[in-house]
C-alpha cells in the first residue's frame, strides 16, 4: 500500500501544478518539429531518418524529469521518510522509476503519432517504433533512476545525470532502431526487439538495487 501511495503521488505531482510532465511532451514535439528544418525538404530522407529522430527526442525528453526524481524528495525531507518507511528502499526506487516512466514516457508514446506526421513516417513504421518505445523506455527510466540517485545531493545535477545516463542508454537505442531498420528492409524485427527487451529486464533487476545503494549513502 505504501508503494502504491508513492507511485500515485509521484505521478500526481509530475502532472500537477509546477510538475514537469507537460513540459516533457512539449519539448519532445519541439525537438521533432525542428528536424524537418535541419534535414531539409527531402521527404524520403526524412521518412528514413524518422524513427532515429524520434528515438533521440524520446531519449532527451526522458532526461528532463530525472534531476528532480529524487532531489525534490531529498530537499524537502521526504527522502528521509522514505528511508524510514516500511518498504525496502530498492522497491521504493523501482516504484519511483515506474512513476517517472508513467508520467514522462507514456505521454511521449501517446504523442508519437503527432510527431510521426511531422517526419512523414508511414503507419506501419510508426507502429513498430511505438512498440520499441514500449519495450525500451522502461529500461531507460530505470537507468535514469540510477543516475538521478547518484547525483541526488548535487546542485545543477541535470547535465551530470545526462552524462552518466546517456552512454548506458545507447544499447537500448541501438536495438530499437535496428528493429525498425530490419522491418523496413523486409526482415523480421523480432531478434532486436527481444534483445531490447532483455536490456530492459536486466535494468529491472539491477537498477533498483544500484539506486537504493546510492540513496543509502546520503548523509
Amino acid at each position: 500500500m505504501g508503494l502504491w501511495a508513492i507511485f500515485a503521488r509521484d505521478v500526481r505531482l509530475s502532472w500537477g501544478a509546477g510538475g514537469g510532465g507537460p513540459v516533457g511532451v512539449i519539448f519532445f514535439l519541439s525537438v521533432v518539429a525542428v528536424a524537418p528544418f535541419a534535414v531539409g525538404p527531402d521527404l524520403a530522407l526524412l521518412a528514413r531518418l524518422g524513427p532515429a529522430l524520434l528515438w533521440i527526442a524520446v531519449l532527451l525528453s526522458l532526461l528532463l524529469g530525472l534531476e528532480r526524481l529524487f532531489q525534490a524528495d531529498q530537499e524537502d525531507g521526504t527522502l528521509d521518510q522514505l528511508r524510514l518507511s516500511d518498504e525496502p528502499l530498492a522497491l521504493v526506487a523501482l516504484v519511483k522509476a515506474a512513476a517517472h516512466w508513467t508520467a514522462s514516457a507514456v505521454p511521449l508514446i501517446v504523442a508519437a503519432p503527432a510527431a510521426a506526421v511531422l517526419l512523414n513516417m508511414e503507419m506501419a513504421t510508426l507502429g513498430l517504433t511505438v512498440a520499441t518505445f514500449l519495450i525500451g523506455t522502461p529500461g531507460l527510466a530505470l537507468i535514469g533512476a540510477v543516475g538521478a540517485a547518484v547525483a541526488v545531493s548535487l546542485r545543477r545535477a541535470g547535465v551530470l545525470i545526462a552524462i552518466l545516463v546517456l552512454p548506458l542508454s545507447i544499447p537500448t537505442v541501438i536495438f530499437g532502431v535496428a528493429a525498425i531498420e530490419a522491418f523496413t528492409a523486409g526482415q523480421s524485427p523480432v531478434a532486436p526487439l527481444a534483445l531490447q527487451g532483455a536490456l530492459t529486464l536486466v535494468a529491472l533487476v539491477v537498477a533498483p538495487i544500484a539506486a537504493a545503494a546510492a540513496l543509502k549513502e546520503i548523509d
Binding site: M1, G2, L13, D76, D80, Q81, L84, S85, D86, D219
Partner: protein, 196 residues
C-alpha cells in the same frame, strides 16, 4: 523492555568529528532532552541513531529494526506544497505503515489542531502550521521511538502546550522521546544530555 542504548558513538562529517564518544540510554517511558550550542551535533546525533548517516565508531542498540520503530521529525518538514494537508499526512501514514491511513491521517491532523485546514494545499499554510503538519506524522503511524529535532520551533503557545500533552501521553504509553532543543518542551523531569 524496549530501551534505546547508544554507546561510544562517533560521527564524522566533512572530515570533522562532529560527535565524539557519545553514550546515552533511554528506557521505555523516558524522555531525553539533548542540548548544546549550534553545531554541537544534535541533529547529527538523531540522524545517526536512526541510521540515516554513517557512523565512524560506536553502536546503537534497540530491540528490533530501529528504522522501522522510529519517527524522525527533522528540520525539513517533508511536506509537499501542492498536496493538501490531509493527503500529505495520509501519504506518510501509508509509507510508515499505518493500518487505516485515511482515518489515522484525520486523527493526526486533529491531534495537532489542523483538521479545519485538512483540504488546504500545504503551500498555503504558515510556517508554524507546516511544522505542526510535520509533527502530525507522529500520530499518523504508531511508532515507539520519537526523534525530534527542534520540534516546537515556530509554534504558538497553545500548540506547544498541546504537543507537550501529546508527548506525555506517548511516554505514558511506554514510548521513548529523544528531542534536541534550545527551549523547554514542557516535559516532566526529562533526562538531559549536553553536547559540545
Amino acid at each position: 523492555m524496549s530501551d534505546l542504548a547508544v554507546s561510544g558513538l562517533c560521527v564524522d562529517r566533512g572530515g570533522r568529528r562532529v560527535l565524539s564518544d557519545v553514550s546515552l540510554t533511554v528506557a521505555a517511558g523516558e524522555a531525553l532532552v539533548v542540548s548544546g550550542p549550534n553545531g554541537a551535533g544534535k541533529s547529527t546525533l538523531l540522524r545517526a541513531i536512526v541510521g540515516l548517516c554513517a557512523v565512524a565508531d560506536g553502536a546503537v542498540d534497540y530491540p528490533g529494526e530501529i528504522a522501522l520503530c522510529a519517527h524522525l521529525v527533522a528540520h525539513k518538514n517533508a511536506v509537499k506544497a501542492t498536496e493538501t494537508a490531509l493527503s500529505n499526512i495520509a501519504f506518510h501514514a501509508r509509507i510508515l505503515g499505518a493500518d487505516a491511513p485515511e482515518m489515522a491521517a484525520e486523527e493526526a491532523l486533529a491531534a495537532v489542531g489542523l483538521l479545519a485546514l485538512a483540504d488546504t494545499p500545504a503551500g498555503y499554510l504558515s510556517q508554524g502550521q507546516t511544522r505542526r503538519l510535520a509533527l502530525a506524522r507522529l500520530f499518523a503511524a504508531p511508532r515507539p521511538l520519537w526523534l525530534l529535532d527542534e520540534p516546537v520551533a515556530g509554534l504558538d503557545a497553545a500548540s506547544r502546550e498541546r504537543f507537550a500533552g501529546a508527548m506525555a501521553t506517548h511516554l505514558d504509553g511506554g514510548g521513548l522521546v529523544v528531542a534536541s532543543t534550545h527551549e523547554p518542551l514542557g516535559l516532566v523531569a526529562p533526562k538531559t544530555l549536553a553536547l559540545g
